[in-house]
Amino acid sequence: MDDHLLRYNKNKTLVFIDCETFNLCLNFCHNIPWQIAMIKVQGDKKVDEKNYYLKWQTDLKISQDAARITRYDHKKVQKEGHDPKEVFPTIKDWLDHADYIVGHNTLGFDIYLIKEYYKYMGCNWHHLVNKFIDTNTMARGIKYGIPYNPKESLIEYQYKIYHTRKKGVKSSLTFLGKENGIEHDYDKLHDAINDLDLNLKVWNKLKWQVEI
């Protein structure tokens, strides 16, 4: 009866994405992603992963705080970093062919960096918008007691929750992980692939609580 729900569908491809950036600005005029990590998921399982360090021709500098929080390693980025133009085709291929693009706070942050990256490469990004699932808004929707009605648009529901602020409601990835009793190496957070692994574990809990 509920076979149509995403939780049972092993044929849908979900791409989890996380961008580590120089700061929290939403436009490339002052911010760029120095790392983009993605994991490809079918059912409950990770089937592939990509982790790119990006080396931009830029005068932008990462702040000390951001470097500490995001574990930015300048030498590693310089040594292992790719030209953003070189890795974009793979990122685009993954996102364009995903049934859903999942991330934590994607609607408030990552979507804008992805949009800027597509624009930088001269590509249209609008077809991606309806694919986004933001685990932060989905978790908050559950906590607020505002369930998703499958008859309404998922993206509109998520924006409604995104714009609803209630005091005392915690929904960070770490909090959700610990709250749901998820075993994980929490000391390694802000390592992009590690974050995505936790994001997947959180999603695997959340998806049983929403009618998607």
Binding site: F22, N23, L24, C25, L26, N27, C29, H30, S63, A66, L107, G108, I111, Y112, K115, E116, K119, H126, V129, I146, S153, I155, E156, Y159, K160, I161, H163, T164
Partner: protein, 248 residues
């Protein structure tokens, strides 16, 4: 497409002035200067209050530019309701005046909004607007923060009452992820209610490269910093006159 300018008189919302100057210099760009440089015969100015009117009127008149002056104001269910819940019923409308009588009516309406209706911001309700309405005014539904926008993307419950006039619907495209969602809803609303629909472009700065200056200005007003602006969805550099020229 109609360019809808906003000046720095709408506090913290635009970096454009209304100064009468002929060309760009080291100081902030002026809407009058942009109008003269681009030979605009009329100007659409949509402000969040009415304090710019004198300078806008004086400087457009001396340059033979027709001024269309509009007020972007909050409407709520009842201006007497000053509770937190009432804020869920807030949305924006734009009211233009067509002539001197219209100017007097709009001034009176804004005065009511800023005194009797004030709750965090000047507010009107549809009852007050309809009681003071005449054909000297023109009601428009803006693209952002209208009842359609708020009911769709925010948890708002805004019930419009346009029984006193036929509003004009504005649609925009500023390359924000939710623009197409709102555009579809606005077009549907206009079609169902047989309303006129105009493509518009809100303009807060001259060139796309000015976005960083605009963002800095917004951050200062928000007491935040460029590295952490804390301004929802502040990602588009399309609110520029340059974008209007490209899109028109």
């Amino acid at each position: 497409m109609i360019p809808l300018f906003k000046s720095h008189y709408s506090l913290g919302r635009s970096i454009l002035t209304l100064e009468d100057k002929n060309e760009a210099d080291d100081y902030p760009d002026s809407i009058i200067q942009i109008a003269k440089e681009n030979k605009l015969k009329e100007l659409f100015l949509v402000e969040d209050n009415m304090s710019s009117f004198l300078e806008a009127y004086t400087n457009t008149k001396s340059n033979n530019i027709k001024l269309n002056y509009g007020l972007r104001v909050t409407v709520t269910e009842s201006i007497n309701d000053k509770t937190d819940e009432s804020r869920q019923k807030n949305s924006k409308v734009v009211i233009f005046f067509r002539n001197k009588q219209g100017h007097e009516l709009l001034t009176k309406l804004f005065s009511t909004a800023a005194k009797a209706g004030f709750y965090y911001e000047p507010r009107l309700d549809y009852d007050t607007i309809s009681k003071n309405w005449s054909d000297d005014l023109l009601l428009c539904i803006p693209f952002y923060d209208s009842f359609i926008f708020n009911n769709t993307l925010r948890n708002s419950i805004c019930i419009p009452q346009f029984n006193f006039t036929k509003p004009i619907v504005f649609i925009e495209d500023n390359d924000l992820p939710f623009d197409y969602i709102i555009k579809d809803k606005m077009e549907k609303f206009a079609q169902e209610n047989k309303l006129e629909l105009f493509k518009t472009k809100s303009i807060y700065y001259n060139n796309k490269k000015d976005f960083k200056t605009y963002l800095t200005f917004r951050c200062i007003n928000n007491r935040s910093i460029l590295n952490k602006p804390e301004l929802d969805h502040m990602s588009s550099n399309e609110f520029a006159f340059e974008s209007y020229l490209k899109a028109k």
